[in-house]
């Protein structure tokens, strides 16, 4: 059984934290300065919270399906996914800032940012799938498990984020 190297995990997660924080702040821009802070803190909390909350499900379900995923390996794959999402979100930051500041209305500004942020999250999910390739490559049922888990986590994050938006914008 592998052990978790916390120092390297934290170093890996830093871009994830920076990227999600910046993405949350940009998503809050159309709603005013208070929401920049609010969503800036909320968005990383949701990403990290949902990932942590759903991680055991992945380990337990894979074990029940006969192809156990070690917690250390799951943690490494998930942190790699979150870090990749963070990198991608940092990259779309200039475009996001530009789009947010040149939108005619609040809703326009927010709606145009959503696909950018989703792009970052999809990048993270793809990186997670690549990191877990040995797990699902030979057994289609594991592929279905990963797909279902991702859909569940993304839906949960989306619903949580939607409820926290000012005036239920989502």
């Amino acid at each position: 059984m592998r052990t978790i190297d916390w120092r390297s995990a934290i170093r890996t997660l830093l871009p994830g934290l920076a990227g999600t924080l910046a993405a949350g702040a940009v998503l809050g821009l159309p709603f005013g300065p208070r929401q920049v802070v609010h969503l800036g803190l909320l968005f990383p909390a949701i990403i990290f919270g949902v990932t942590l909350f759903c991680a055991p499900t992945l380990c337990i379900a894979s074990s029940l399906l006969g192809n156990a995923l070690e917690p250390a390996r799951a943690a490494s794959a998930l942190s790699e996914g979150v870090a990749s999402a963070g990198h991608a979100l940092l990259g779309v930051l200039p475009v996001g800032l530009f789009l947010a500041t040149t939108s005619a209305s609040r809703d326009d500004g927010f709606l145009v940012l959503v696909p950018l942020v989703l792009t970052g999250i999809v990048v993270g999910v793809v990186r997670l799938a690549v990191a877990l390739r040995p797990l699902w490559q030979e057994r289609p049922v594991m592929k279905a498990l990963l797909f279902g888990w991702t859909a569940m986590a993304m839906a949960m994050g989306l619903l949580l984020f939607g409820r926290c938006l000012p005036g239920g914008a989502l």
């Binding site: 870090a83 990749s84 999402a85 963070g86 990198h87 991608a88 940092l90 990259g91 779309v92 930051l93 200039p94 475009v95 530009f98 789009l99 040149t102 939108s103 005619a104 326009d108 145009v112 696909p115 950018l116 792009t119 970052g120 999809v122 990048v123 993270g124 793809v126 990186r127 690549v130």
Partner: protein, 241 residues
């Protein structure tokens, strides 16, 4: 008309020769990212977009020729500025080869080819301006020219991205971001043609509406169906102004 455009295109010949040689093979990152090549493509974009911008401004004439010649290169270069970090970060996030200068080289190569096509289409625009094309038809013609140029540039970009792992995701994501940023940049730095009913020629307009809604309105107006009240006298074209 052709002589005027040919004269304006003289500084492009060096860059044009490079770009003409380019489509034959897949772009090589090392070639595209050399400082000389980046400078050459930068110059190609500035001159090419300025020529097309000046021709767009010729629909209105006067100071608008200068304004549009300044703004169009800005649109292209600022789009490159905001899109290059996206490509680098996507490459890095997906474990591909990530290098800011190489990515900038590829994006400038793509935009440079687009600008070269714009120069080639400049006579068409100039002819429309001389023939006093209707304002809305002039917009539609401009959208068509830019679409052709965009597709030509796209081919270079896709060829450059279509290598290594995760190429579908990177290409799709970058094209999406490019479309979003490019259309918004164009919209933010408008006007290029200027409505015939406007007496003053503004360098920039206030932030309102969107690019897509504007194209929809222009299509309706080109068919004689006027929806907006932006011009109370409903002047229909430069020729009737």
């Amino acid at each position: 008309v052709n002589v005027a455009v040919a004269e304006a295109s003289v500084p492009l010949t060096g860059a044009a020769a490079t770009a003409a040689a380019f489509p034959a093979g897949a772009p090589r990152a090392s070639v595209l990212s050399s400082p000389d090549e980046i400078k050459r493509r930068f110059a190609l974009i500035v001159v090419g977009a300025a020529v097309f911008g000046a021709v767009l401004g010729a629909h209105r004439g006067g100071v608008q020729i200068l304004y549009a010649a300044i703004k169009l290169p800005l649109v292209v270069l600022l789009t490159a500025v905001v899109c290059t970090p996206v490509l680098t970060s996507l490459n890095r996030a997906l474990g591909r080869r990530a290098h800011l200068r190489e990515d900038l080289g590829l994006i400038l190569a793509s935009l440079g080819r687009g600008c070269l096509v714009l120069v080639a289409l400049a006579p068409v625009q100039l002819l429309a301006a001389l023939a006093r094309f209707d304002y809305h038809r002039a917009i539609m013609l401009t959208v068509a020219c830019c679409s052709v140029a965009g597709l030509a540039g796209l081919a270079v970009l896709v060829r450059g991205l279509w290598q290594g792992s995760m190429r579908v995701l990177v290409t799709a994501a970058l094209l999406g971001v490019f479309a979003l940023a490019g259309t918004r940049m164009t919209w933010t730095l408008r006007p290029y043609l200027v409505r015939p009913c406007e007496r003053e020629v503004p360098f920039l307009r206030a932030v309102d509406g969107s690019f897509t809604s504007s194209v929809g309105t222009a299509m309706s107006s080109a068919q004689g169906r006027y929806r907006s009240e932006t011009c109370p006298d409903r002047t229909r074209g430069y020729g009737r102004d």
